[in-house]
């Protein structure tokens, strides 16, 4: 009899364990159409979709070992956070093999005009359609995908995660250490991109201001410039390729210490008794300003 009760207790424990392995999430919270949602998940996946309802639906599954899911706030500002037992002790546990926390899948459907702020460590981030005042994403190693989003401004940062971003916005800021990024869509206004070693592909509409900086990453920039625009690109050892429309009106200043300059406009001047090459040219009326400077990276300028 005792043996049988132990057996049933064991089965019950097994069932409990399997139920805990991936606890389903299903919550619905009210949020104003222009409210703000912050989402924080360390590992797993964060999926954001939009709809026309003044509500936030949270589904997915909570990984085994997660302490709890926090959903707090009001209809102006909602916070969704996956709380981990180790979350107060830094990231020292991450990747150490000592953690028994399973990944969590968070699927969040929110009002299309809501402001969105996402923080991840290794969780992948997938956003489709966010068009609020601001879209901010910070990820360490998780890859970031954004599609059909039209926020007032976008601020996206990764450490080693790659990013594929399709945006319609007038203010874009992107930073990475070693993640590659492809940034395109109807990007206008102001763009600022910083990369350490990640490669950058950028295709934009008409910009008023652009700043690009890399240490060793390659930058392939295809941009159009407003009349009074300012474009500044700097690289230590990464190559920079800049392509502008043939109708561009700008003053062009390219300079490199030990790299090469190749340009479809102007003539390259070489220092006579020291390293260094520079090119100054005027395109059309010379309205906008284009300045590219590198230490050892090559500079390619194409007007077509």
């Amino acid at each position: 009899m005792k043996l049988r009760s132990s057996f049933f207790a064991f089965i019950a424990l097994l069932f409990l364990a399997s139920a805990q392995a991936a606890t389903p999430i299903n919550q619905l919270k009210p949020l104003d159409a222009d409210g703000a949602v912050s989402i924080d998940n360390v590992q797993g996946r964060i999926v954001v979709r939009t709809w026309a309802r003044p509500e936030v639906k949270i589904t997915g599954s909570l990984g085994q070992g997660v302490e709890k899911l926090i959903v707090a706030g009001d209809r102006r500002r909602l916070r969704i956070e996956v709380k981990y037992p180790q979350s107060t002790g830094g990231w020292g546990w991450w990747g150490s093999g000592k953690s028994h926390v399973e990944p969590t899948l968070l699927e969040v459907t929110l009002p299309a005009k809501a402001e969105v702020n996402i923080e991840s460590v290794s969780a992948g981030v997938d956003v489709h359609g966010a068009s609020g005042r601001r879209l901010a994403i910070s990820s360490v190693s998780g890859d970031v995908t954004v599609a059909s989003a039209a926020p007032g401004e976008a601020s996206i940062e990764t450490v080693s995660g790659s990013a594929t971003l399709q945006l319609h916005t007038a203010r874009t800021k992107f930073g990475t250490v070693s993640g590659d990024v492809r940034l395109e869509g109807r990007i206008t206004g102001e763009v600022a991109i910083e990369s350490v070693s990640g490669d950058v592909v950028l295709v934009t509409g008409v910009l008023r201001r652009m700043e690009f900086s890399t240490v060793s990453g390659v930058g392939r920039l295809q941009v159009a410039l407003a009349e009074d625009a300012s474009l500044q690109a700097e690289s230590v050892s990464g190559d920079i390729w800049l392509t502008v429309p043939a109708t561009t009106s700008a003053r062009l200043a390219l300079e490199t210490f030990s790299g090469d300059i190749q340009s479809s406009a102007g003539r390259v001047d070489r220092e006579e008794f020291a390293p260094g090459k520079r090119l100054n040219a005027r395109l059309g009326e010379g309205d906008a300003s284009i300045k590219i400077e590198s230490f050892s990276g090559d500079v390619h300028f194409i007007s077509k």
Binding site: G89, W91, S141, V215, V236, E272, S296
Partner: protein
């Protein structure tokens, strides 16, 4: 860019380096210890000035260059190099606060990449000390390294 403008820009850089205010407590107290390092650096700076003077002399002999321009270049190069050294000292002082803290294994390649980038930029500054933009690159790289280290430690 005039020397006045350059000096002004350089003066702004160390303040911009602060990624998070709480990274820096205690740095000031460690700075006096760096004074000796500063004084040890002087012979090197003096050597740079000497090399710049030699370059000027050679330039004068070869190309009849205007001395004012070369002197300005030399001054600018010294300023940039000195600022890079000061920035590196402050960065190292800040990093000492995190020495021994465990770093997540997946983050190690990125941290190494940042360290290598800082080394490359410092080498580039040594080769081309006229480039103020390299100083900004160094500042940003140190700031990223500090911020990332702090986030890894505090979560």
């Amino acid at each position: 860019m005039s020397d006045h403008q350059l000096r002004w820009q350089l003066r702004q850089l160390p303040r911009e380096l602060e990624p998070r205010r709480d990274l820096w407590p205690g740095i000031a107290s460690q700075l006096p210890a760096n004074n000796s390092a500063r004084s040890r650096r002087w012979p090197w700076i003096a050597g740079l000035a000497l090399a710049a003077s030699l370059s000027l002399a050679i330039g004068l002999g070869w190309r009849q260059m205007e001395p004012e321009i070369s002197t300005q270049d030399s001054l600018r190069a010294q300023l940039v190099q000195r600022e890079a050294d000061a920035m590196t000292r402050e960065y190292r002082a800040a990093m000492r606060h995190f020495s021994g803290a465990p770093m997540p294994e997946p983050l190690l390649p990125t941290l190494l990449s940042l360290d290598q980038s800082a080394i490359d930029i410092r080498q580039a500054i040594a080769d081309d000390p006229q480039s103020a933009f390299l100083l900004q690159q160094l500042q940003r790289t140190y700031a990223r390294r500090l911020t990332l280290t702090q986030r890894a430690v505090t979560g």
